[in-house]
């Protein structure tokens, strides 16, 4: 066999995964994934959020030990979950989020992280610069050795990350969503660079979200769906965009069945939540909102589809008041709430099921009754004495949790002792109490089992039928199709497409991946 880091053995795959499986608790992140990547080519890996792409990349890089299966690089089996072994075998990773220390100069960061042989523990600046001069010149642009990392533009930082990864003379390069933060021109430059690497014999695996980008750069493509390999690796020339879309979002047999819900009847069409030309600042992980117009009326469920990271979190934050709209107007119950604090919006009947139930929805270490009572702490009820009765709070919490059939032993037990489905019931018991006008439900069924999922969806529909408004943000297209009266697709912080039932899965999928603008 070849020496680690040397050229891949002729004929054999550069990377071979055999029936990889990774589980996080009850969630199967990867299941039975077998994948061969031919040397000297650019392989794209696509899939919806939560499909297992990042997990697979981490397994390859040795950052995540698989529960089952193994990884071979250039014919050699890697010890599982060993970053250094993966590196020694010639595999380098570029992470989704930048990993170079922001306060270091370019030269310092490279010396620290690139682990090129010949370094010394004591150095002089001039010497350091000399060591890295050529590498940095290759990137061009604004990378000057004495610049601090934090002062560099994003695309230069990206180039540096790649250069750092390659400084170890890697033969396999894994990039996890490298385009997420880049401007279009920078993406083109990145792709050009990947092609040059390929021509130099490097095998590239790149995780991408957008089909346009896949078409632009990849030689082969593989699709992950729900932790399983749904397609590929297949040559790009042999696959149509439609087939890719189908593989990403689910089997066509289901897709063709037009699903929709009957609109509730007899309710007065009152606008409960409205966003008018709202823009917000971008966060570290997501684009901000750009010119978003949105209306939720009484008695309807409005769905928000989109690949995660396209502004859904910004949208919910701006509605909740956790983030302030830079431009535009937010109306809740017909009144301007653009500057209202979160508590004020709650008082107007806004209720929230947050994205991450364990960190945003509940306090894991606080007792159940306190979690259940959280909203009662912000209501502005005047009373003669400020004193409250804890027993009353506990009783009321117990009553409401019983109504929603939360299974628990004692109201004083910490919320972390509940299962995922039970936690969601606890959250619903708190949020879906009288006073609700409009509910924003973000990923309300993520990670729940079938029964709990069904329960949550029925609750949302029940709410709609009772005349409330619901904004449902989800990455589960089936959930959106089956429950939404109207469906919007977010892409890059904008609402790029609006659909009404019955939905065309292909069209929605295209809008989500940016194929249709």
């Amino acid at each position: 066999m070849t020496v680690p880091g040397g050229p891949a053995s002729a004929g054999g795959p550069a990377v071979r995964c055999r029936s990889l499986g990774v589980s996080f608790g009850a969630v199967r992140a990867l299941h039975g994934v077998s994948l061969d990547l031919a040397p000297g080519r650019i392989h794209a890996l696509v899939g919806q959020n939560g499909a297992g792409k990042t997990t697979l990349a981490k397994v390859l890089g040795g950052l995540q030990a698989p529960d089952a299966g193994d990884v071979h690089i250039a014919g050699r089996k890697l010890p599982s979950g060993d970053v250094r072994a993966a590196r020694a075998a010639g595999l380098a990773m570029v992470h989704q989020h930048f990993s170079l220390p922001p306060s270091f100069t370019v030269a310092e960061a490279l010396e620290l992280t690139a682990a090129r042989p010949g370094g010394r523990s004591v150095y002089r600046r001039a010497e350091l610069h000399q060591r890295w001069q050529d590498d940095v010149a290759e990137i061009g642009g604004e990378a000057v050795l004495s610049t601090r990392i934090r002062d560099l533009p994003v695309e230069t930082r990206q180039s540096l990350e790649i250069m750092r990864a390659l400084a170890t003379e890697a033969r396999v390069l894994v990039l996890d969503e490298p385009t997420a933060l880049l401007a279009p021109a920078a993406i083109d430059a990145l792709f050009e660079r990947l092609r040059r690497l390929r021509d130099g014999g490097v095998t590239v695996l790149v995780v991408l979200h957008k089909l346009r980008e896949v078409a632009a750069v990849a030689d082969t493509v593989s699709v992950l769906r729900d932790g399983e390999l749904a397609l590929g690796p297949i040559e790009m020339s042999e696959v149509s965009q439609g087939r890719l879309s189908d593989a990403i979002v689910g089997p066509a047999s289901q897709a063709d069945r037009a699903v929709g819900v009957e609109a509730a009847t007899g309710t007065e069409r009152r606008t409960l939540l409205e966003l008018v030309r709202v823009s917000s600042r971008e966060s570290a992980f997501e684009p901000g909102l750009r010119d978003v117009d949105l209306r939720v009326e009484a008695g309807e469920i409005v769905g928000i589809a989109g690949v995660e990271g396209n502004g859904q979190r910004s949208l919910v934050s701006v509605i909740a008041g956790l983030d302030v709209a830079a431009e535009g107007t937010v109306l809740i119950g017909g009144a301007d709430a653009t500057r209202a604090p979160p508590a004020g919006r709650r008082l107007r009947g806004l209720r929230l099921v947050p994205f991450d139930r364990n960190s945003e929805g509940i306090s894991r270490r606080a007792p159940l009754w306190l979690n259940q009572s959280a909203l009662r702490l912000v209501e502005r009820r005047r009373r003669r004495l400020p004193l409250i009765s804890l027993r009353q709070y506990k009783q009321q919490a117990a009553m409401e949790m019983d109504q929603w059939r939360v299974r628990y032993d004692a109201v004083t037990q910490p919320a972390e002792s509940l299962s995922g489905g039970n936690v969601q019931r606890l959250i619903l018991s708190r949020e879906l109490a009288p006073g609700l006008e409009v509910l924003v439900a973000a990923q309300p069924t993520r990670g729940l089992d079938f029964a709990a999922t069904d329960f949550v969806r029925r609750s949302l529909r029940g709410l709609r039928d009772a005349g409330a408004g619901v904004l449902l943000v989800s990455s589960d297209l089936d959930e959106l199709f089956e429950n939404s009266d109207r469906l919007h697709v977010m892409y890059g912080g904008r609402i790029v497409a609006r659909f009404e039932a019955p939905y065309d899965r292909r069209a929605v999928g295209d809008a989500m991946t940016g194929a249709r603008r």
């Binding site: 966060s283 909740a320 979160p342 945003e360 306090s363 606080a366 306190l370 959280a374 702490l377 709070y393």
Partner: protein
Amino acid sequence: MTGSLQRVASTLLLVGVSFLLTTLILWASGYRVSEVFSGVIEGSLTATGAATSSIRWAIPLLLIGLGVVIGFRAGFFNIGGQGQFYVGACCALVVSLGWRDGPAPLVVLCGTAAAIMAGSAWSLLPGYLRVRFGTDEVLTTLMMNFIGALVLQYLTAGPMRNPSGTGQTAASERIPEAFRITDGSGVSATALLLVGGVAVLVWLLLERTRFGLTIVLVGRNPTMARWQGIDVRRVGLVTFALSGALAGLAGAVELYGPGARLVTGFSPEVGFTAVVVALVGLLSVWGTAAAAIFFGGLQSAILFLPIVTDLPPPALVLLHGMVALLVTVKFRSVRWRRPGSPAEALTA
């Protein structure tokens, strides 16, 4: 209920283990085991004036400790009790000496109010930095302690210095006797009523108001609290102000009580012991009261030790330190302290 019993038991066990370890070390150094115990018992309880002295030291520990309880419950590691205590005492002193012919009740009331406000302000500065910029309050409150000590030193060695004083350490002039709420023993009905009343008020605030519950939610998970519409910054500022107010009040009680004047660097570790008191008291009001009495007794025993046994006072400082060490280890493992700032938690 069994959970809280367990926590009390494990804390008592921890204090027991500290005793054991201390005894072991002293025994290995050649002291008799019986001496350690008799020293503690006599110095804190049975010697003449020892019991009173225990209570005298428990008072500032309880007041500052209650402030620590409020801060820690909200997830803020306000360890600036010492500095807040000093500036509180200083402001009460300035008011009392500046208006020494005023009617006693009014002057004491004004002096106490000034102490409370000064303590709050001393605490609010790091509090504001914390909620506005995320500056680590452990560092800032700690640093504010040094500044507080220097303010005290400036006053006692400068403008408020007693010119006839001949002692080695600088001390202020004495306040008029009429202003005092206790004699030199530091214990009186007024002082006990005041401290007891404050403890009841703090208990009501923490256990019987919505704000008390809000503090717990913010302390346990600020991200969730924000999603629920709770103004986490406001809660943070209020808790910082309350912690400082209680420490400032302790400063006033010290001046109008046993002190009658301020000496440079008086009661140098009371603010830090109060943190241990709150932790040993499991951040509950009555637990803190019990722990304050225990540590008050220890403090008293340290002072009485040269009188009652051959054991050197540092022997009990060792015991004190041992409890502090073990309780801190336990506390860190429980992780009351939040792992990251609200902003981090939100974007993660």
